[in-house]
């Protein structure tokens, strides 16, 4: 696999192949030829920019805490199986930026991506080039924003009416309760 596509990366932590941008379709077609005929799950993952503190052993052997910034990104994850060989899963990822995410649609290779990629488009705002029917699926057409993004904020609820439960929710929303 990695020989066929030298640009593909192997993400050890997640156990996933990260397909090079713009080559995902070729990778998928190659995989289909290898007997990976069943795409089980398609989803997006939204990574905000964040800072991690890591303990690094420096050159001089001293432990020091380094603050590293991980840039934001958007992943589209495919879980692939082979029905012929009864093997799997193979995790394929397409990695793109958060601001204008655009990846290749794998619907031409696996039909099962059709609705799921529509869902990723709807909830994450990832643009799938080559998708035959890219529309919103779960939210209505006039909806603005992409609710599964981590920085999504709810709009004002115009159907809101005061109930005793507001007191409870307020307390939860003050961030006191959820750890």
């Amino acid at each position: 696999m990695l020989q066929q596509f030298p640009e593909a990366e192997w993400d050890e932590a997640a156990g996933a192949i990260i397909a090079p941008l713009g080559q995902a379709l070729a990778v998928a077609e190659w995989l289909l030829g290898q007997g990976v005929d069943y795409c089980s799950n398609v989803t997006g993952v939204d990574y905000l920019e964040r800072e991690v503190k890591e303990k690094v052993t420096g050159e001089d052997g001293k432990m020091e805490t380094v603050t590293r910034t991980i840039p934001s990104r958007m992943d589209v994850v495919y879980h692939l199986y082979s029905m012929q060989k009864q093997t799997g899963p193979l995790v394929l990822k397409q990695r793109t930026n958060r601001e204008q995410p655009q990846v290749q649609s794998l619907t031409p290779v696996w039909r099962s991506c059709e609705l799921q990629e529509r869902e990723v488009y709807d909830l994450f705002g990832v643009d799938f080039t080559g998708h035959p029917d890219q529309r919103r699926i779960l939210m209505w057409d006039e909806f603005e924003g992409h609710p599964m993004r981590k920085d999504y904020t709810e709009p004002f609820d115009y159907e809101w009416e005061p109930t005793p439960h507001n007191e409870i929710l307020d307390k939860h929303h003050r961030g006191k309760v959820i750890v």
Partner: protein, 233 residues
């Protein structure tokens, strides 16, 4: 070659058998009064839903001793607030999936049932219009203070306030709990007793260990003292 229309006739025979059977075989009837349906093996004190106007439910609290509905707060025998088990630790509030619990901790501490003084909930509200009866609060409670009730007759003309159960509505005695969920309550009491015993044993062991240690210390000290005493000599 099968009979023309034989499949239809076969099906009609099945429905005819069910038609007749439903008059003789009680097991066939799906719908009947609730308590009946559960069968003879099940309910130990099942209430029966009223058939006629004006008839009261015999027992609105129990349908079936396994079912759960909404949470309630337990207290041991005696005045509810003097023996309430809840110490307002707010774990259940934190873990409640639909976020329907609201707790305010008391200012003061109160001694209950011979245990050491603890906080108690000044306010404990459960919005049963939001509660989804998942029983997570029961599981996470470290004090066995909250358990599931099975009272289902909760209709009220007030859709907001009427469905917000306050602390005093939620307080139920352990005896009541034993009545509605006998097996579960017995198991819980046994476990609590065991834990208490274990705790006490541990305490005792700890006390003994402390005592022993103290003795040893004393001994050591004494020896040290002796040594010290001896030293000058």
């Amino acid at each position: 070659m099968s009979l023309l229309g034989g499949g239809i006739l076969k099906g009609m025979a099945v429905t005819l058998r069910n038609f007749v059977g439903s008059y003789f075989d009680r097991d066939r009837l799906t719908t009947n009064d609730y308590a009946w349906r559960a069968g003879d093996s099940l309910p130990q004190h099942a209430g029966e839903y009223p058939k006629e106007e004006g008839e009261q439910l015999r027992d609105t609290t129990t349908v079936n001793n396994y079912s759960r509905n909404f949470p309630m707060l337990l207290h041991d025998e005696g005045e509810p607030m003097d023996s309430i088990r809840c110490v307002a630790c707010q774990i259940c509030e934190r873990e409640c999936p639909p976020q329907c619990i609201y707790i305010e901790k008391s200012e003061d501490k109160k001694e209950r049932g011979g245990n050491k003084a603890q906080f108690y909930p000044a306010k404990f509200d459960i919005d049963v219009s939001v509660c989804m009866s998942c029983q997570i609060c029961v599981e996470v409670c470290p004090f066995d203070a909250i358990v599931m009730n099975s009272q289902f007759e909760l209709s009220t003309p007030d859709r907001f306030g009427g469905l917000l159960l306050r602390r005093d509505d939620l307080l139920k005695s352990n005896g009541y709990y034993h009545k509605i969920h006998p097996e579960e309550a017995a198991a819980r009491d046994q476990r609590m007793a065991e834990e208490k015993a274990a705790k006490e044993a541990k305490k005792k062991a700890a006390a003994e260990a402390a005592k022993k240690k103290a003795e040893e210390n004393a001994k050591a000290e004494a020896e040290a003292g002796n040594e010290k005493q001896e030293d000058p000599q």
